[in-house]
Every structure is written in C-alpha cells, then in structure tokens.
C-alpha cells in the first residue's frame, strides 16, 4: 500500500512538471538531481550512512559520459552505461576505505575524498579539461541500428527521456528498498551491532549500498552533462556533494518520494530565488538549522503530518456521524 503511494507521488510529479513549468531544462534538472538524491537517500535514509562524497560520483558520471561521447564512437546509451559502471566502481573504492570507519569518522572521510576527487580532476586537464571543463558534449538522439527511436533536440523531448529513466530507476530502487536486502539495510541503520550479531555481514551490505548509490549518482551526472553540453569542474566541487545532501535532508531521509520533493524544492527555489537574491543559500542554512532542531523528517514529514491531521479530522467527523445515527 505504502509502496504504491510513493510510486504514485513520483509518477504524479513527473507528469505534472510539464504542465506547471514553462522550461523543459528546469524540469529535466529537477529529475536529474532527484536521481542523485535517490542515491544519497539510499545511504542516509536506508543505511544510516551520511555521505559528503556524492559529488565524486556526480562529477565522475559527467566526465565519463563526456569522454566516451567525444573520444570514442560509442552510442549514447552505452556512454550512460559506462558512467553507471564507473560510478559504481569508484563508489566501491571509496567505500572500501571509508566504510571501515563509523559515524563521524566516516563522514569526514567522504568529505576528504570529495576534495581529493576535485583536485584529481583539476590536476589531469588532458582528461577533464581542468578549469575549463570538458566542452562540446553532444546530445545525440536515442537510436538503434541507425534508426532514430527518440529525438533529443528540444528540451521537452530530452525531459521525456529523462523522465522514463527516472521512473525506471525509481521503481527499481523501490524494489531494492522493499526487498530483503533493503530491509537488512534498515536493520543496519537502526542497530548495527544487533544486525551484525544476528549474522549479517554489515560491511558488505554497506558497501553494496554504496556501490548502488554511486552508480545512480553517476547516471545523474551523465544526464546533467548531456543536458548542459559540458562537464564543468564545478560538477566535482564540494558544493555539489553538499547540495545533494541538503536536498536529501530537506525532502526527508528514508522515503524515496521525499527525495523527489527535496530535489523539486531545491531546484525550483534556486531558480526563483537566485535571480531575486544571489545569497539565497543563507536561507538554506537556516532551513538546515530548523530541520536539525525540530523538523527531522524534512518536508515529507510535514506533508505526512498534514495529511494525517486531515484524515484524522475526516475520521472524527465520520465517527460523530455514526454516533448521531446511534442516537
């Protein structure tokens, strides 16, 4: 029942975006960041791992996609697959080293690795274009054996493709989180010592979650590079890691539909507020403080509480009616 509600919310938003927004790129941006947030949520909400290193995989996805398309003749879907695979591999590497550490130590390591990746990207300009970024990444149509299946020239055509990819990933991650694997992750989140005592190989589960998260985030990075036509050094900056994490927390950890809400809120707020007041990030800081102090389930928690209060009122009026009938 719960599961269907989440998927319905995601589907509803994906369909509603073209009706509400006038810009196809803005709508695509929402879904692309939502993908990255799903990856982050899998770690924070389902495994209890707070990662400041999601920018590594986002940036790596952008670079891989750009390099494969500009340096080899491989078709676009294969470039996406290459980004996913490399993202997963990188996450495996970062994970092996950092998952051995717990709590805050782990968080510090992910941040240090994010900085490491940034300086790595900066110091190999032959691959990444250094400060300028990787330029002239094409946005090819989806084609098989020379037949164009889906044209990506307009922003809304591109949105449609991103929407399909997003929904596929969303449903897949739903199956993952409701599977036995996902339940085990929740057990680890809630009580790591107990999960390990029951016999689960906790580090292996965490590593798998990390790899999965890295792969999804890299896919988001690749789609981002495809949308804007460049893989800028900024995609590897600490700011991206922070942004993905902030979206996750604002939406609410531990619920996949909440991730979409978080990304939606952030991207639209950025779009509207940044023109009005360039320093709007300060408001995000305030929001983070508020969430830490008392709104720990994020926007999704607010929506859920509001919904419960509403249904409770309906129920109450229903009960009164029953009583009246009895009288």
């Amino acid at each position: 029942m719960r599961r269907n509600i989440d998927i319905a919310v995601a589907l509803g938003i994906v369909v509603a975006l073209p009706l509400l927004l006038s810009s196809g790129s803005l709508a695509s941006e929402v879904l692309i960041y939502a993908l990255a947030v799903l990856g982050c949520n899998l770690l924070l909400g389902y495994t209890g791992l707070l990662s400041f290193g999601q920018g590594i995989f986002f940036g790596l996805g952008s670079y891989t996609f750009g390099l494969v398309l500009t340096r080899t003749g491989l078709p676009m879907p294969l470039a996406l697959v290459a980004s996913i695979i490399l993202g997963g591999l990188a996450a495996g590497l970062v994970g092996i080293v950092s998952i051995r550490q717990k709590g805050t130590y782990f968080v510090m390591l992910t941040l240090a690795f994010a900085q490491m990746f940034y300086f790595l990207a900066y110091s190999v300009p032959s691959l990444t274009g250094g400060d300028n970024g990787l330029l002239n990444i094409p946005r090819p149509p989806l084609s098989a054996f020379g037949v164009v299946l889906w044209d990506n020239t307009t922003a809304w055509q591109f949105y449609a493709m991103v929407a399909v990819i997003f929904l596929l990933v969303f449903v897949a991650l739903h199956r993952v989180t409701t599977s036995i694997f996902g339940r085990t992750l929740l057990a680890i989140r809630d009580n790591e010592v107990r999960a390990s005592a029951v016999g689960y190989n906790v580090p292996r589960f965490k590593l798998l979650a990390f790899v999965l998260s890295g792969a999804v985030t890299a896919l988001a990075g690749a789609l981002n590079a495809m949308m804007v036509g460049v893989a800028p050094l900024a995609n590897a900056e600490f700011h991206v890691s922070e942004m993905i994490l902030v979206m996750t927390v604002i939406g609410g950890a531990g619920n996949l539909a909440a991730s979409l809400i978080g990304a939606l809120f952030y991207v639209l707020a950025a779009d509207w507020l940044s023109t009005l007041w360039p320093r709007w990030l300060m408001l995000l800081g305030v929001l983070l403080v508020i969430i830490s102090l008392g709104m720990q389930r994020g926007l999704w928690g607010l929506i859920e509480d509001g919904f419960l209060a509403l249904t409770a009122r309906f129920k109450r009026t229903g009960e009164i009616r029953v009583e009246e009938k009895q009288v």
């Binding site: 080293v97 968080v107 300009p125 990030l281 983070l288 102090l293």
Partner: protein, 286 residues
C-alpha cells in the same frame, strides 16, 4: 638540494597552521563527540576580521589578539543558542546543524565583503627575508612558525597542566562522571567550543597575509583539518601536531615536484596512512 630544505621548512610553517586548525576540531570532538563542520568558517571569519581590522587602520598585532576573542564569542553564542539543543540527537543532526551554521556565516561573509578575494599586507617589521649564508627565508613565515610553536606549547600546558585541562581530558573519557564530580559540564562544553573557534581564528589571522582572503577558504580549511585529524588520529593533541606537519611538508615539497598535483597529494597521503593505519598514526585502537 637547498630547494628541498627550503620547502621542508616552508612545509613545517604551513603544517603548524594546519595543526592549529586541526587541534581545535580535535579537542572539541574529544569532549563533545561532535565533529564541527562550522570549524572552517571560524578560520574564514578570523581571516576576514583581520582583513577588515587592518583595512580600518588597526595594527596587525592588535588584530592577532582581538580577532580570536571576537570569533570565540561567535562560537560561544552559536553553541549556547543552537548546537546545545542537538547534543542528544543522532550524529547526523550534529553535522547538519553545523553545516547550516557554516552556510549562514559563509553567505554573510559574501554579503559583507563580496564574493571575490583580497589580500592582506604582511605586517610592518616582518617584510622581507632573513639570510643565513645561502639559506633565505621570509621573515613573516618564520614568525608564523614561532607563534604557532609557542601556541602549541601553551595549549599543551593548558591541557596537561591546568585544572581546566584535567576537566577537558576527564570529560573526553566520561562527561557524566565529570558532572557527578561537581563540574558544570555544559559550561565546559561552551568554553571548549569557544576555545576551538579561537584557535581556528588565530590560524585564519596568521594565514591571511600569506594566502589572502576569499569566501571559500573555509571549506578548504575544513577539508584540510579533516585530513590532518584523520592522519594523526581524532581526539589526539600530538596526532594533530604530527599530522599537521606531515601534511604541510608533503604539500610543500610536492609543490616543487608537481605544482598542479600538490593539493591532490595531501589527500593521497591521507589515503595511504588510512590503508596502513585505519585509526591514524597516533589514534587509539578500536
């Protein structure tokens, strides 16, 4: 060969600044079990307050004394009004609230001083270089080594030789026990948090004439402080010292060998230490 000697001395200078940055983070973590993601912005505030003070005609020496007190006050207020309320919550919220505070302060700095960087003049009397035979070294950097060295000794004495230090060390083992002994632990928390902010601010003031000021130097400093405590071992004074100097020397020597990759190498050094000693060079086992 003398290039490497020069870079090693340079590295010790940078490393002592890194130590100063990391030791506050480490002590705060030891006592409060709380990684302060706003530590970098205290460094940022230190540098910018110094920049502003010098611009207003105050001498660098006065700034070096007053700015850390100001930043300590900022830290004190942040701890009293905000951070205190999340101590009982899961550690994610410790991190998120300090990230929030860091964002707010960083944006305020941009509002006040603009998004572009600026430079701070080397204080008068410390311009130029000293020469011993063929060894030439900037006076200001020697001064930084001397000041940070003195501060390291002072901090060590405070931690090991005073009543406050014993309370901090005991509190790192068990805050409940310390509070049962009649010490106001919450006041101790505020005090140590303010002290941590002050040490970061001193590092910021000292670094300003070397590297100038810019609004994103805070996050960079935070990452470096993390690397230092990860290398040295979290919660250890000597670890911060050894880690700081090691990372400073690696960065400095690498900047002659591979200038583009010097920043990268400090993270590579961190990864290498982690693979060999997961708890850092001087970290406790377990």
């Amino acid at each position: 060969m003398s290039v490497y000697l020069l870079q090693t001395v340079n590295g010790i200078g940078i490393g002592m600044l890194y130590f100063l940055l990391a030791v506050g983070l480490s002590i705060v973590f030891g006592l409060l079990r709380f990684v302060n993601f706003a530590h970098g912005v205290f460094y940022l505030l230190g540098a910018y307050f110094c920049f502003e003070a010098v611009r207003q005609g105050m001498s660098f020496w006065a700034a070096l004394l007053i700015v850390p007190l100001f930043v300590a006050a900022v830290g004190w207020v942040a701890e009293k009004t905000l951070l205190r309320h999340v101590y009982a919550k899961p550690h994610e919220f410790h991190i998120l609230i300090t990230v929030g505070v860091a964002l707010i302060i960083q944006e305020l700095v941009i509002v006040q001083w603009g998004p572009l960087g600026d430079s701070v003049a080397v204080p008068s009397g410390l311009e130029g270089v000293v020469m011993w035979g063929d060894f030439i070294y900037p006076k200001y950097r020697l001064f930084v080594i001397a000041v940070t060295g003195g501060l390291a000794v002072l901090l060590w004495w405070v931690l090991e030789g005073t009543r406050l230090g014993s309370a901090v060390r005991a509190g790192s083992e068990s805050p409940e026990m310390v509070s049962l002994l009649g010490i106001n632990v919450f006041r101790l928390f505020s005090l140590v948090f303010a002290l941590g902010a002050a040490t970061a601010a001193i590092a910021g003031v000292l670094a300003a004439p070397i590297r100038g000021v810019e609004p994103f130097m805070g996050i960079e400093a935070l990452a470096v402080a993390f690397v230092v405590v990860v290398v040295g071992g979290l919660g250890s004074f000597t670890g911060a010292l050894v880690g700081g100097i090691l990372i400073g020397v690696v960065q400095s020597v690498m900047s002659t060998l591979w200038p583009e990759g010097a920043r990268l190498m400090i993270y590579v050094a961190m990864a290498a230490v982690l693979l060999l000693r997961p708890n850092g060079l001087l970290g406790k086992r377990g």
